[in-house]
């Protein structure tokens, strides 16, 4: 397949991160073009989530750079990166359990809305926010239970809520951390269908531990192992590469 030229949506260069003596990310570089669907795979402890945390600013790298559409992100705090068009879902769910699904998505919408500084207006009267939240929930198939609290939902529903919150922000680059983990076969198919519907102006980078379940989604694949990029290429190239079999599929 042809690779588009121009400014990459996401460009990571020589990224390094150590936790004490343990290197979690070793000289990782990768370039994701606008509209691309990138899969990052690797065994447990390969540094996949650490890479996301470095991109979002949850962690500060020891060396290297992260660029979003050509703009250096390193000195920009996490919340500002979100305003530049970055969104992510978490592998370990970090939702607001006592609130309704709708309210969770509204918090996501407020994050990009100046109204979040308003101390006078009653939030529950802001129909445009709640309508947009319901729309996002309907998109992931949670429209019917929008008024339930997170505590009353199943694990699969929470995973989809994570997606709804990220998608509601209309990001330019969407980072998905194991969106299929812990889901039933049926739910996995729903999430895959949902990903298929995401418009092409959204660039998606997805982490998956289980390669098979996400293969169909990927155009290009990056294989991480012990914090290093081992193989990168098109789906066919990476699957065929002997090193992939060795570190990932082999044992």
């Amino acid at each position: 397949m042809s690779i588009a030229t121009g400014t990459p949506a996401l460009e990571v260069l020589g990224l390094q991160k150590r936790f004490g003596g343990l290197p979690a990310t070793r000289d990782v570089s990768l370039t994701v073009m606008p509209g691309e669907r990138r899969l990052i795979i690797g065994p447990n402890g390969a540094g996949k989530t650490t890479l996301f945390n470095l991109i979002t600013g949850d962690l500060t790298p020891d060396a290297g750079s992260v660029k979003l559409f050509g703009q250096e992100l390193l000195r920009i705090p996490t919340q500002q990166r979100v305003h530049l068009g970055l969104a992510r879902t978490y592998q370990i769910l970090t939702l607001f359990p006592k609130e309704t699904l709708c309210h969770n998505v509204v918090l996501a919408l407020l994050g990009l809305d100046r109204m979040r500084w308003n101390i006078w207006t009653v939030l529950s009267g802001q129909n445009h926010l709640y309508d947009a939240a319901r729309e996002a929930l309907a998109l992931v198939g949670l429209g019917a239970i929008a008024d339930r609290t997170v505590a009353e939902t199943s694990y699969g529903e929470r995973r989809r809520l994570e997606m709804a919150m990220a998608l509601a922000q209309r990001p330019k680059v969407l980072l998905l951390d194991e969106p299929l983990a812990g889901l039933s076969q049926e739910e996995r198919q729903q999430v895959r269908d949902l990903l298929g519907k995401v418009p092409r102006d959204v660039t998606i980078v997805m982490i998956e531990h289980d390669m098979d379940s996400a293969l169909a989604f990927a155009e290009r694949i990056t294989l991480l192992h012990y914090g290093e990029v081992i193989v990168e290429g098109t789906r066919a190239e990476v699957v065929a590469d002997p090193r992939t079999k060795e570190v990932y599929l082999g044992e």
Binding site: Q79, V82, T94, L107, A108, G111, Q126, Q169
Partner: protein, 319 residues
């Protein structure tokens, strides 16, 4: 909700009519004190309940305002000028304290607020030339807002009630506002809030400044009521008592700190005239409430009411 609105109207009418029923000045003044401490507790609860930031230095804003107002009145700025300067000064101190305290969260935040409160207390206690140390300062006379005389017990009570009602309404709106939702989100999931585009630090700092502002308004009422301010009013014990009001009444509810302020102020002033060890009694009340209602009185009573209503519903469904 409609039933709640009716209850609120009845309560408001009762509060306005109070001076006609309670003619004893001691008790009417007590009602004014309760309102002042309730406002202080509600303002603190913006941080404790809604922000998850437990502060042990909130009485310092009461003190900073009271001292500043007294000093500036003495320097001839006039009542209104002194009040404005005092509230602005105290709120600015809150802005500075917020920057320092929000270097940390949890216990660290608590310790920094405690230390800042102690510094304010220490200055009030030691800066003799300015504050007359332990003797305290006299405030010359109550102001005449809009030409109204508030020197008598009933008129001062109505004045306090009006300020209290406006302040509490504005704070209540905040808790229902987008900012209030963001503040509670920052309390529950700060990392996720950042990843949603929220500036968690700025949200918490603004909450700190707003809490300081409303605490300062309570401080103004305090000095108008007592016509006196001394280091005692801003000691660690005072800050702890206000925190106790919020926790006893229930920091997770809006009305909790008000209920807490009523109980603690009553125990302090009424029971203490019969019982020497009223502090022990307060401690006992606190232990019992927390034992049976770990989230405080208002959420606890709500839970009890819900439990009473539920069993009545089940047979209905079966029938």
């Amino acid at each position: 909700m409609r039933r709640g609105a009716v209850a609120l109207l009845v309560l408001a009418a009762a509060l306005i009519a109070l001076p006609f029923v309670v003619t004893n000045e001691f008790y009417l003044n007590l009602a004014s004190q309760i309102l002042i401490y309730a406002l202080l507790a509600v303002s603190l609860n913006l941080l404790v309940g809604y922000g998850g930031l437990v502060s042990l230095g909130h009485a310092s804003f009461l003190g900073l305002t009271a001292y500043a107002a007294t000093l500036f009145v003495g320097w001839g700025t006039g009542q209104l000028g002194a009040a404005l300067i005092a509230v602005v000064f105290s709120t600015l101190c809150g802005a500075l304290f917020g920057v320092l305290a929000l270097r940390a969260t949890g216990i660290g935040f608590l310790m920094i607020t405690l230390a800042l409160g102690q510094i304010v207390w220490g200055i009030a206690y030691r800066a003799n030339t300015l504050t007359d140390g332990d003797n305290g300062l006299r405030y010359p006379a109550r102001p005449r807002p809009f030409g109204l005389d508030i020197s008598s017990a009933p008129t001062f009570y109505w004045f306090t009630l009006a300020v209290f009602a406006i302040a509490v309404f504005v704070i209540w709106r905040l808790t229902r506002s987008p900012f209030g939702a963001a503040l509670q989100g920052a309390r529950d999931q700060p990392r996720r809030m950042r990843m949603l585009g929220h500036n968690v630090w700025l949200i918490q700092w603004l909450a700190f400044v707003l809490a300081a502002f409303w605490g300062s308004i309570a401080g103004l009422l305090y000095v108008y009521y007592n016509l006196f301010i001394s280091p005692h009013a801003i000691s660690l014990q005072q800050s702890a008592e206000v925190l106790l009001m919020a926790i006893l009444g229930g920091a997770s509810s809006f009305a909790g700190p008000i209920v807490g302020a009523v109980i603690i102020t009553l125990v302090k002033n009424v029971v203490s005239s019969y019982v020497d060890r009223w502090n022990s009694l307060l401690g006992a009340i606190f232990v019992v409430v927390i034992l049976f209602m770990p989230f405080g009185i208002v959420p606890g009573v709500r839970q009890l009411l819900a439990r009473w209503r539920k069993p009545a519903k089940i047979p209905e469904r079966a029938a």
